[in-house]
Symmetry: C2
Subunit: 198 residues, 2 copies
DNA sequence: CCTCCAATTGAGCAATTGCTCAAATTTTAC
DNA sequence: GTAAAATTTGAGCAATTGCTCAATTGGAGG
């Protein structure tokens, strides 16, 4: 009971995500968050407990969006490998208007947080691992569909894809060299997704 | 004249590097720096101008150390490709006691800083690009020595190596899975450093 | 030994931080 | 309509931030 006239939690998460993704955890102040969400501190603290609590929920919100995007890429392409390539292209080369930063928010959090904020760090690590697990399932699907050799080491290949994704996003932020990124995505998926039988 | 009893600038840089590398730019306070260097604020500000000024010099100090390490790896190995692999192994799997963080400090800075700190961001970008250029020169050397095909696209391959290095370091911080990293380094250098003719 | 001046000291300022809480307001239940 | 409960409000606290500067120190030149 008594739940009307409350703010829209999803909208708040969306705006908080944008801020944290752009500025990072430490460089985003609670005042920034208050202004962006048009909420007074009490409301935020009643709903999320603390700045860390809000960030934790932001990480989950972000990860869920990425999982959904990956799934959408898979359904919109005819082959599994094509779906993975579409996901790479969309994230690295697509002009996503509400992506304020080239990097993966999870990777950015893992980079920024230290062992003193272990709860948040572990949350980011676990979400990134879960996303990597999704990669592995799709790689196995590609093997079953005959898009990849039967003796493919799918765990290894999935890890390699995640390493590439993270590396390429950092490279893009460092150089803004979209052509180079496009070329590297091509090399990843074109000749064969690397010679990765075991 | 009057220069005795002054602190050792290199020692200060070393200690500041450790702090910034561990905690990042924002999460390292000037008090942390004062305590670690045993200097009073006035001395630091006389020598470096500001926290940003100190960080900028730390970035350069770090980059120079990496360049020297890479060069050392090259001279200690018989082949150029072997030298590159040794560099990867040392950074990713070596137990460097004064590396307080799995990540590259330059990549960490590029991840953390936003466009509002453009001086520092550009410095980190430029130092990372210079290190990538070193990679390219060594790849070309490997081509000349016949360790790689004559038609190797050395610019592309050097970029791919840098992407791998950054991605693998983030992966290591995210998972602590040294065996997986070892396996991926193997795949990078063993069969051929990827099928990267152009 | 004294003088001079660069180097060092450390108290502390102004701004910002994450967050609290009593008071005011709005919603729900009857 | 009314009272109890849930929610929102915003002033502001205690701690921390990057940094300044007048006072002090101590080595070099004479």
């Amino acid at each position: 009971m008594a739940n009307t006239a409350k703010f829209n939690r999803r909208e708040v998460l969306q705006k908080a995500t944008r801020l944290f993704w752009q500025n990072g955890f430490h460089a985003t102040s609670t005042r920034d968050l208050q202004q962006a969400t048009n909420l007074r501190p009490g409301s935020i603290y009643a709903a999320f407990g603390s700045k860390s609590g809000l960030f934790k929920e932001v990480l989950a919100y972000y990860a869920q969006n990425r999982d959904e995007l990956l799934h959408r890429c898979m359904t919109e392409e005819t082959s599994t490998l094509g779906g993975l390539r579409a996901y790479f292209r969309y994230i690295l080369l697509g002009d996503d208007v509400d992506a304020p930063n080239e990097l993966c928010l999870l990777a950015k959090a893992i980079s920024e947080l230290d062992e003193g904020e272990e709860t948040l760090l572990d949350e980011a690590r676990s979400l990134l691992a879960a996303h990597g697990e999704k990669f592995r399932l799709y790689v196995e699907e590609a093997v079953s569909a005959g898009e990849l050799p039967q003796d493919t080491n799918s765990e290894l290949l999935a890890r390699q894809l995640q390493v590439q994704m993270i590396g390429l996003r950092t490279f893009l932020r460092a150089t803004s060299d979209r052509a180079a990124v496009e070329q590297m995505i091509g090399k990843l998926f074109d000749p064969a997704p690397a010679q990765t039988s075991n």
